[in-house]
C-alpha cells in the first residue's frame, strides 16, 4: 500500500508537485494521467526514493504503512520496484537482466540460488521471452527491451509496483502481454501505480484514476467517476462515448470537435 499525504516538491525554479494526496491500496491498479510535464514521473520518483531531497520535498509518503524515509535503499528495493521510462540498451543477455531483479535478495557477488534461478526462468516464460533467453538486450527491438525490463521488475517480486509508461513503444501484442501480467500482479494483491498516456486504456485498466495538471491533483476517483466528470474534456480536450465492442459496452474517447 502506498499513501502520499500533502506531498509537495519543488526544484530551484519551479513548483513540480503541490499538495498531492493519493492512496493506492493492495490489489488495485492506480493509473496516473496528465499532460506532459504535469508531474507524473516526478511523483513516481518521489515515491520510489529517487527524489529524496529534504530541502525541496514536503509531506509524507507511506509505503506499507511506514514512512518511506525509514527505509534505506536496499530495504526499499524489497518492497517497492520501479520500471523507469528510459531504458538503456545493454550488452548483457535477457536472462542476466532479469536475474538482476533478484539483486535485493542476494549477496555481494550476485550469485543466484536455485530458487532465484527458477523465479527468473518462470518470469521469462511468463512474459513469453523464452526465445530471447540468451539474446543481448542491445539486439532486442525497443518493445522487446521494454518487455525484458518489465520482466526484471516482475522478478523483483515486490508488493508495490511503479510503472512509468510501460507500454509507450509497444505494439498491440506486447502491450496486451504487459497488461495481462499487470492484471496477474493485481490478483497477487500487489499495489500498482502506473503512468499511461492512453485515456481509453487507463479507464479499462484502472481501479482508481489520479489526474495531475501543473503538479496538482485535479481528479482522484474511479474510472466511472472520471468518465462522467468534466476532467477528460477540460484537461485532455476529449469527450467519452460508449459503443458495443465484442458484445460489451465499452468507453472510448474522441477529440472534441
Amino acid at each position: 500500500m502506498i499513501e502520499c499525504r500533502s506531498l509537495s516538491y519543488s526544484s530551484e525554479k519551479k513548483q513540480i508537485l503541490s499538495e498531492i494526496n493519493l492512496t493506492a491500496i493492495n490489489g488495485e491498479i492506480t493509473v496516473l494521467l496528465g499532460p506532459n510535464g504535469s508531474g507524473k514521473t516526478s511523483l513516481l520518483h518521489c515515491i520510489s526514493g529517487i527524489i529524496n531531497s529534504k530541502k525541496n520535498l514536503f509531506g509524507d509518503i507511506l509505503i506499507d504503512g511506514i514512512n518511506s524515509t525509514k527505509y534505506n535503499t536496499r530495504g526499499r528495493s524489497k518492497i517497492l520496484s520501479l520500471l523507469p521510462q528510459t531504458l538503456p540498451s545493454l550488452q548483457i543477455t535477457v536472462s542476466e537482466l532479469v536475474s538482476y531483479g533478484r539483486s535485493p535478495y542476494i549477496g555481494h557477488f550476485g550469485k543466484l540460488s536455485d530458487n532465484d534461478k527458477k523465479t527468473v526462468n518462470n518470469v521469462i516464460d511468463r512474459v513469453s521471452m523464452t526465445e530471447f533467453y540468451d539474446t543481448p538486450v542491445s539486439c532486442l527491438s525497443g518493445g522487446e527491451r521494454q518487455l525484458a525490463f518489465f520482466a526484471m521488475l516482475v522478478a523483483q517480486n515486490t508488493g508495490n509496483v511503479l510503472l512509468d509508461e510501460p507500454t509507450s513503444s509497444l505494439d498491440e501484442k506486447h502491450r496486451s502481454k504487459i497488461f495481462d501480467t499487470v492484471y496477474e500482479l493485481k490478483k497477487e494483491n500487489k499495489t500498482i501505480i502506473i503512468i499511461l498516456h492512453d485515456i481509453t486504456e487507463a479507464v479499462r485498466l484502472a481501479d482508481k484514476i489520479c489526474v495531475l495538471d501543473n503538479g496538482r491533483s485535479v481528479f482522484y476517483g474511479t474510472p466511472e467517476q472520471f468518465v462522467s466528470s468534466d476532467v477528460p474534456e477540460k484537461i485532455f480536450g476529449v469527450v467519452p462515448y460508449k459503443c458495443l465492442h465484442d458484445g460489451k459496452e465499452k468507453v472510448f474517447f474522441s477529440r472534441k470537435l
Partner: protein, 335 residues
C-alpha cells in the same frame, strides 16, 4: 526471433590463460634486463648467491613487483571510473590525478629542489587533493553530480593544474628536467622501500573493488533502475571514485605518470570477457599488471644498455593498438 545469441566466455579457462601469461611475463621481467645474466645465475641471485644477487634481488625483483602492482592499480582504477561514469573514455587522468600529482611535483622541484625524498608522498597528496577538488565540485551541486558532470569537473580542474605547471615551468626552467622525468613515468630506480608501503593498500583496494563489482553491474541499468534494485547510486559513485583515486595516487607515488593503462586495459578486458565487472575487475588487474611489466621489459631491452621509460613505450604502442580496437570494434556500446 532472436537475432543474436550471446557468446559466453569460459571464465576458468580465461583466468588460467591470463594467469599463465602474467606469471611468464613476471618471470621474464626478472630474467631479462639490460645486463645479460644467465638463467642459472638469476636463480642463484634469487637465492642470494653469486655476484648478481644485488642486481636480481634489489633491482629486478622490486621493479617487477612494482610494474605489476602499478599496472593492476591503474587498470582497476580506469575500469572503476569508466563504470561509475558510464564513459568509456574516462581514465585516472580525467579526474585530475595526473595534473594534481604533476602540479605538486612541480611545486616541490621549484621551491624545494633538494627534497627528492618527498617526491612520492607529495605526488600522492597532489593526486588525492586534485580528486578531492573534483569530487567537492561534483557533490556540492546536483547539476555537476552527474556522470558527465564528474568528467567535466575533472577536465576543468586538470586544465587549471596544467596551467599551474606551465606557469611554474616558465618561471623555474631548471625544475623542468625533474618534472619531465616524473611526468613520463617509469619504473627505473624503484626499490623495495618505494613499493612496500603501497602493496597492501593497492591489493586491499582491488579486493574491495571486486566486492562491489555486482553493484557496479547494476549501474549499467541507469540510476533509476539501479536505485530501484537497492543500489545507493550516489554513494556508490563517490566510493568508486575515491577507490580509483587512491589506486591511481598510490601508483603515481612510485611510478610517475604512466598514461594509457587506465584507458586501454578496461577496453581490452571488455573485448575479451564482456561487461560483467565481477570478471572484468580481476581480469583488468591481471592484464594491466602484465602489460606494464611487458612494456618495462621492452623499455629495458630494445635500446639496451640505454633505457626507455615504460610510460613512453605504453603510449607509443598503446595508442595504435587502441585505435585498432576502436576500428575493429564490434557493434553496440555498453549502455
Amino acid at each position: 526471433m532472436a537475432t543474436n545469441k550471446s557468446s559466453k566466455v569460459n571464465v576458468p579457462i580465461l583466468f588460467s590463460f591470463s594467469i599463465l601469461i602474467f606469471i611468464s611475463v613476471f618471470a621474464a621481467s626478472i630474467f631479462i634486463g639490460s645486463v645479460h645474466i644467465s638463467f642459472w645465475d638469476v636463480i642463484d641471485g634469487l637465492m642470494g648467491k653469486g655476484d648478481n644477487a644485488v642486481i636480481i634481488r634489489s633491482l629486478r625483483v622490486p621493479r617487477a613487483i612494482g610494474s605489476v602492482i602499478c599496472g593492476a592499480a591503474l587498470a582497476t582504477a580506469g575500469l572503476l571510473l569508466q563504470s561509475a561514469t558510464s564513459n568509456e573514455l574516462c581514465a585516472p587522468n580525467i579526474i585530475g590525478i595526473n595534473s594534481g600529482a604533476g602540479f605538486a611535483v612541480m611545486v616541490l622541484t621549484c621551491f624545494f629542489p633538494n627534497a627528492h625524498y618527498m617526491l612520492s608522498p607529495i605526488s600522492f597528496i597532489g593526486a588525492l587533493c586534485a580528486t578531492a577538488i573534483v569530487m567537492g565540485i561534483s557533490v556540492s551541486n546536483k547539476n555537476t553530480f552527474t556522470r558527465s558532470g564528474i568528467v567535466l569537473s575533472g577536465v576543468a580542474v586538470s586544465a587549471f593544474f596544467s596551467a599551474g605547471v606551465s606557469f611554474l615551468s616558465l618561471r623555474f626552467p631548471d625544475a623542468l628536467p625533474s618534472y619531465t622525468a616524473f611526468s613520463v613515468g617509469g619504473l627505473s630506480g624503484v626499490y623495495f622501500e618505494d613499493i612496500l608501503p603501497v602493496i597492501a593498500p593497492i591489493l586491499i583496494l582491488i579486493l574491495f573493488s571486486f566486492l562491489i563489482s555486482q553493484k557496479l553491474n547494476l549501474l549499467y541499468l541507469g540510476d533509476e533502475s539501479a536505485m530501484s534494485l537497492g543500489v545507493n547510486t550516489k554513494r556508490l559513485r563517490v566510493i568508486v571514485i575515491i577507490i580509483a583515486a587512491a589506486l591511481s595516487a598510490l601508483s603515481v607515488s612510485f611510478a610517475g605518470l604512466i598514461g594509457f593503462v587506465g584507458l586501454i586495459v578496461p577496453h581490452i578486458s571488455r573485448r575479451i570477457a564482456g561487461h560483467d565487472n565481477r570478471i572484468l575487475i580481476p581480469l583488468s588487474a591481471l592484464i594491466g599488471g602484465t602489460l606494464v611489466t611487458l612494456a618495462d621489459i621492452l623499455g629495458r631491452v630494445v635500446f639496451a644498455p640505454g633505457e626507455i621509460p615504460c610510460g613512453i613505450f605504453l603510449s607509443a604502442l598503446g595508442a595504435p593498438f587502441f585505435l585498432f580496437l576502436l576500428i575493429s570494434r564490434r557493434g553496440g556500446s555498453r549502455t
